[in-house]
Subunit: 198 residues, 2 copies
Amino acid sequence: MAIENTSRERLLASAKILIHSRGYADVGVQELCSHAGIKKGSFYHFFPSKQALTLAALDEMMGEIKQRVFVPAFSKEVPPLERIRRFFRLSHVMQCDGKLETGCVLGCSFGNLALELGTREEEIRTVIEGLFAMVIANFRDTLEEAIATGDLPPGIDTDATAQALLAFLEGILMIAKNRNDPDVLLGQEEMALRLCRV
Amino acid sequence: MAIENTSRERLLASAKILIHSRGYADVGVQELCSHAGIKKGSFYHFFPSKQALTLAALDEMMGEIKQRVFVPAFSKEVPPLERIRRFFRLSHVMQCDGKLETGCVLGCSFGNLALELGTREEEIRTVIEGLFAMVIANFRDTLEEAIATGDLPPGIDTDATAQALLAFLEGILMIAKNRNDPDVLLGQEEMALRLCRV
DNA sequence: AAGTTACTTGACCGGTCGGTAAAATGTCAA
DNA sequence: TTGACATTTTACCGACCGGTCAAGTAACTT
């Protein structure tokens, strides 16, 4: 672990990688601390609970994904439908990076936690619901712009279609994680575009 | 718990409902036994481990889903594309039933466990990979029949499209579970059919 | 130098985890 | 009636869980 960072930063980094790859329940506070190079007693100086650390980690991960995927994919300089293609291609790149770093396909941290904690950690569930809504909103805006530019015919339900795009992404990530093969995402951008045509 | 059944059957029934709704790690052997109305010591007379019970439960659940969804949906007496519609409508019915019974949308037991245990229970991971492959095969056969009957134009990649259908289903189930709203599945059969058109 | 604060440490808490062992009880056939 | 076998019960195991606490140390202000 990079020791030049503060303990708090190292804890967050450890939570991001460990919980993303192995899930919430399987990673204990002790292991998070060992990985971050601190003693367990220090943990609660920075975070009041394991849940709080997870929420903070989710927030940081969303920030990173915005930076690495959303910003380059949903650039206004790119034609709308090409943005969706880019989004899926960048998701592929991210899964490849994750596998190179950890040896296993990580999938979507939000999707992973949504299913693992959906019926038992209400606060985390709510946060993920919000994150999903934000992704859907991005897709929806892109679809509406595609209609405005004539790239898509009017009359499609942009909200429902945007939700379907997120669903398809999450499902593909699930299959990729299950097979431990990031290349399941290869070429899925064209499959995603099928969802946009009536 | 219905006491007329054998202890083993009650254990299996408890595992199906508890693990499906709350996940693998959150349901302990003690709770499984209490729910089944037996003492913990008896557990290991019927199953060598919690993992073994889970595998047996997965097997039974697949059997039930075949009976309640696959058989009626993929009936040879129904036009191919209508089978896919039926499949998604029946999935909606099942999620509604699950919510009525437990108070929360259960989602897909295979998808749930695939994400929770994907990187830590290799045997369960493998079983789920096989189940996914079987679902995809059903979709693929249906798509090929749709091409044969002229309901779909030739030239689409039936394997990739079948995989996309499974991905879309799993993603929609994830969103429904996250929002605890089974009606997220309402009307998704038409969205699924978009994936089948080139 | 003194005081204040941020951080770190190790020892400890009750509770639960999956799993084991042995004795007690029920069941059925010879 | 006896013996064999399946089932159930109770008590127990070491390990780990998330979390607490009080004391110690480093760092920064004044």
